[in-house]
């Protein structure tokens, strides 16, 4: 392995090193501030090292990892969202009696797993990254051991994730048996018509594993429970970082292997997309728990992303990337609001708790409103441009049915976002006083996220150019 290889892997190495450092620091002195500070420093260093890595790309490091602009773009997204999750976690656990430093350790390992996934070009790196991510997430989801819902969520996630990993492994084995290769790019050379059944079963089974992580229908059952049970910062991490990594991998896997050219595969993914959009949006209508609403909405949003994914052009990959960034920022802001408002021992998650929030805490409610409008795809937010991009990609590929379903279900989606907005602006209940303990740091993070949502929603050109250049090597 040459120095250039090491340079290419610098972001991964730095995350790994900071995980070790955090572990040592915990062993020496239990100080949550120190652990969080080290984690943030490590993530910042890893983020900066992307520019160092950018000097030596594209580079295939062993046959497992392919570090190119695409991988680096997604690494940037992952590291940034992980850093936001860390800062949210820090102020969230501050309110709890006990600060537990190991969360940051797990979070770093999970981020490392995500970074491996986005650079993965081989089934082995796929599995390695996935397991690194999953195992850390079990711990993170069930982290507040004094809460029953958290334990339940952790257990559910553990069992379902293990099962899906088994499916995934079996799928990989089938593909390997039929084709004799585990590299995505060499799968392309295998004619799908040769031994279609085995290869198709393999693809279907790997899709199961991926679909589970994305939480799309019919693999979505864990999503609401985990989002509800986990603490908000962890839920934000699960919803954004881990899912972005999975989408990045899905895109690379399917585009490099050319699996979408197969009609049956296309049909299956299209069905998943339609079901996710419908189920996510319609099931959210009856929820009164904000975290569960966000969970169902995330099912729908990954349905939208799959629509762009299916369009299968350079434009489509751009739409996926842009939508992911928009979704990440928006969901971080939303869960950030839940996290910032939460009191010790109890999350503020009931719709009623948000009644009249705007008149008590205009800044936080304003951020939440912007985030909800972005989720609903209203102009001047990133969410709108993301939806526009997806619709454009779909229209470009003439996938009319899919985009009409997208439009109709997203109108249903509007309904429950508006319910939250209505609550935010309702007349405050009589006894209402600002009972929420709010840290200034938390508000600052939220304000930055909201500004990003609007800024990139109005002036997206820099991000668009970045995405375009990062996709150059994908096809």
């Amino acid at each position: 392995m040459s120095t250039r290889d090491l340079f290419a892997l610098l972001p991964l190495l730095l995350i790994a090193v900071s995980a070790v450092l955090v572990m040592l620091a915990i062993a020496l002195k239990r100080d949550p501030g120190l652990a969080a500070g080290l984690t943030l420093t490590g993530l910042t260093a890893a983020f900066l090292s992307i520019w160092a890595a950018a000097g030596v790309i594209p580079r295939q490091v062993t046959s497992l990892l392919l570090v190119d602009k695409y991988a680096l773009f997604y690494m940037g997204l992952i590291i940034a969202s992980a850093a936001v999750a860390v800062s949210l976690a820090w102020q969230y656990f501050e309110k709890h009696d006990e600060q537990r430093e190991e969360l940051y350790l797990l979070l770093l390992l999970a981020a490392l797993g995500c970074a491996v996934l986005v650079a993965g070009s081989h089934f082995v790196s796929f599995l390695l990254g996935l397991e690194l991510l999953s195992v850390s997430l079990y711990g993170m989801v069930a982290y507040l051991t004094d809460r029953r819902p958290a334990l339940e969520a952790g257990m559910k996630y553990l069992i379902l994730a293990s099962a899906s990993a088994a499916f995934l492994l079996f799928g990989m084995a089938l593909i390997y048996a039929a084709t004799g290769t585990m590299e995505f790019s060499r799968l392309r050379e295998v004619p799908l018509s040769g031994s279609p059944f085995i290869v198709l079963s393999g693809i279907a089974l790997t899709l199961t594993g991926i679909g589970f992580k994305l939480g799309v229908v019919p693999f979505h059952l864990w999503t609401p429970d985990v989002y509800q049970g986990a603490s908000p910062p962890v839920a934000a991490f699960v919803a954004t970082t881990s899912k972005s990594a999975m989408v990045a991998l899905l895109l690379r896997y399917f585009y490099l292997s050319g699996a979408l050219r197969n009609h049956a595969v296309f049909l299956v993914v299209a069905t998943i997309a339609v079901l996710s959009m419908c189920a996510g949006n319609f099931l959210a209508l009856r929820q009164t728990n904000v975290k569960r609403i966000l969970a169902y909405s995330s099912i729908a949003h990954f349905g939208y992303i799959l629509v762009a994914f299916l369009a299968g052009s350079a434009m489509a990959a751009g739409a996926v990337a842009f939508y992911l960034v928009a979704y990440t920022v928006t969901i971080l802001a939303s869960f950030g609001v839940v996290s910032v408002l939460s009191r010790s021992g109890q999350d503020v998650e009931d719709l009623e708790d948000y009644s009249g929030l705007f008149w008590r805490r205009p800044a936080i409610a304003g951020v939440f409103t912007v985030a909800l409008l972005s989720l609903a795809g209203i102009p001047a937010t990133m969410g709108f441009l993301g939806k526009f991009y997806i619709l454009a990609a779909g229209a470009n590929a003439a996938a009319w049915l899919l985009i009409v379903v997208l439009v109709l279900t997203s109108v249903a989606g509007l309904f429950y976002y508006l319910r939250i907005v209505v609550a935010l602006f309702a007349d405050p209940p009589e006894h209402a006083a600002a009972t929420e303990v709010v840290s200034h740091g938390g508000v600052l993070v939220l304000a930055l996220l909201a500004m990003l949502l609007i800024w990139l929603g109005v002036y997206p050109s820099p991000l668009l150019n970045l995405i375009r250049s990062s996709l150059a090597g994908l096809n």
Binding site: I378, A380, V411, N465
Partner: protein
């Protein structure tokens, strides 16, 4: 540059008004009033200086916005949009004034939303890049939604959500249509652009053209509203605060009509011609249905809301009659309806503030209690029933003249609609203002503030009714340009 300023002033004043209200509510009102006033003066200046200009756009600004998609920040104004802007700012001033005593809570946020909804509406009238148009189109929804949901009446949440869902759903269909047009244009010419003037004359196959046209039509028909898609309107108009009703009826409905004239007809003349029978049936159904429904209402605001459905039916009729006469009538009706219905809502709002009810059954004999207010209502009722000498008459008369040329039965039915409007207008006068006064009401008559607003609107209506020529001259070149564009598109399709 002046066009940018129009938007920036409103936008910035919105933020200022919100901040200022923390110290003094009055300051917030004054900021809003000044900002809209400055915009009004600027637009009026533009009109007086360049109204006679013969070039395509009187004034324009074109900036690159998102080059990756070929999106421009392109604002332009011709006679038609100029008049719409004048109406926007005029009714904007009216909305601020009419809320002066009605809105006492959360004054800052109210004016924030009011100014931003005006920004969005002005953006709709100014945008000639289809992406920008859609952007403004959707953007004006959000503040309007807040106006209804926070300051509205009893069933405000229901009304606001319904309004939002209807317009958003139809808007997204339009977005798909815009994108389809965008990609087809790219296939034909190799250029990615949302620019209005370049998309004109895009070669579309007839089937595709019809579908894309329907996407646009859906969005505009909901806003207009055309009859089966109108159900959001009575709720939203009734539940909104007075200023919200004025803006909804006076401006938001006009954006639908404006969209039809500006986009549907020139971009898809062929499909629109094909669609004419359906549109005409929708139009007369709206005229008659709106009038009949208005007659049977007991809620005063709801009554006025239904008259909008009826009047906007005339606009639809005028647009799809395919001659200049009817189109002129449609534009005049748009302006007059803005003034007369706006005035009516101001007065109904005033009545509600005094009586705390909108129920016509509970009114009666008000003439003796509030003579000036009653007289004003009578004037606007007469405008609504199409009394000669008032602007509405000119508009509807021109529309009927034009529509007579393409379909006599449709014109006959539409005239019956006018007849029905006599019933509801007289019913208003009789129910509320004549007869015995069951309550010994002692009410204050029109305040000077209300008096000035109402007088200005009455003056406008009389001017349009007696001497509409300057207004006709202003939008005439614009309409001719649109017709020219329409014929070039038709020619391009034939080729």
């Amino acid at each position: 540059m002046i066009l940018i300023w129009l938007l920036v002033i409103l936008f910035a004043a919105g933020i200022l008004a919100e901040i200022a209200a923390r110290w003094d509510a009055l300051l917030s009102r004054l900021i809003a009033l000044t900002a809209i006033g400055v915009d009004f003066v600027l637009t009026a200046g533009l009109w007086s200086v360049k109204a006679s200009a013969q070039q395509k756009w009187i004034e324009e600004v074109d900036w690159n916005w998102i080059p990756g998609f070929g999106i421009h920040f392109h604002l332009a104004v011709d006679g038609l949009s100029l008049l719409m802007l004048m109406l926007t700012f005029f009714l904007g001033i009216v909305s601020v004034l009419t809320s002066w005593t009605e809105i006492r809570e959360r004054v800052g946020f109210f004016h924030f939303n009011l100014l931003w909804v005006l920004t969005g509406i002005a953006g709709v009238f100014l945008a000639v890049d289809l992406f920008l148009f859609y952007f403004a189109w959707e953007l004006m929804l959000v503040p309007m939604y807040f106006l209804i949901v926070i300051w509205g009446h009893e069933r405000r949440v229901y009304a606001a959500v319904k309004f939002f869902l209807f317009t958003q759903c139809s808007g997204l269909l339009m977005l798909i249509a815009i994108l389809a047009l965008y990609f087809i244009h790219h296939q034909v010419t190799g250029i990615y652009t949302f620019e209005y003037s370049e998309l004109l004359g895009t070669h579309l196959s007839p089937g595709v053209e019809l579908w894309i046209m329907l996407g646009f039509f859906a969005a505009f028909a909901v806003k207009l509203p055309a009859v089966p898609l109108h159900t959001w309107l009575p709720d939203a108009h009734t539940q909104a605060p007075t200023a919200g009703s004025v803006i909804l009826a006076g401006l938001l409905l006009k954006t639908g009509a404006y969209g039809l004239i500006r986009f549907v007809v020139p971009l898809f003349p062929h499909a629109a011609h094909q669609f004419t029978p359906v549109a005409l049936i929708l139009a007369v159904t709206g005229i008659v249905y709106g009038a009949v429904m208005a007659y049977s209402q007991t809620d005063f605001k709801r009554l006025v809301a239904y008259t909008s459905v009826s009047h906007l039916g005339f606009v639809l009729l005028g647009i799809f009659s395919w001659n200049q006469l009817a189109l002129q009538g449609a534009v005049i009706t748009m302006i007059c309806h803005g003034l007369s219905t706006g005035g009516m809502f101001v007065l109904v709002g005033g009545l509600q503030e005094r009586l705390h009810t909108r129920d016509l059954e509970r009114m009666g004999g008000l003439w003796s209690a509030v003579p000036r207010l009653s007289g004003a209502v009578l004037f606007f009722s007469m405008a609504s029933l199409g009394l000669p000498g008032i602007g509405d008459f000119v508009g509807e008369f021109l529309v009927l003249l034009g529509s007579y040329r393409i379909s006599v039965p449709v014109t006959v039915v539409a005239s019956i609609g006018i007849l029905t409007s006599t019933f509801y207008a007289l019913r208003i006068a009789q129910r509320a203002f004549q007869g015995p006064n069951p309550h010994p009401w002692r009410l204050s008559d029109l305040t000077p503030r209300e008096g000035v607003m109402v007088a200005a609107m009455i003056a406008g209506l009389l001017w349009l009714g007696l001497y509409p020529q300057p207004v006709l001259n202003t939008f005439q070149p614009a309409l001719q340009n649109l017709q020219h564009a329409e014929s070039t598109t038709t020619a391009a399709v034939r080729r």
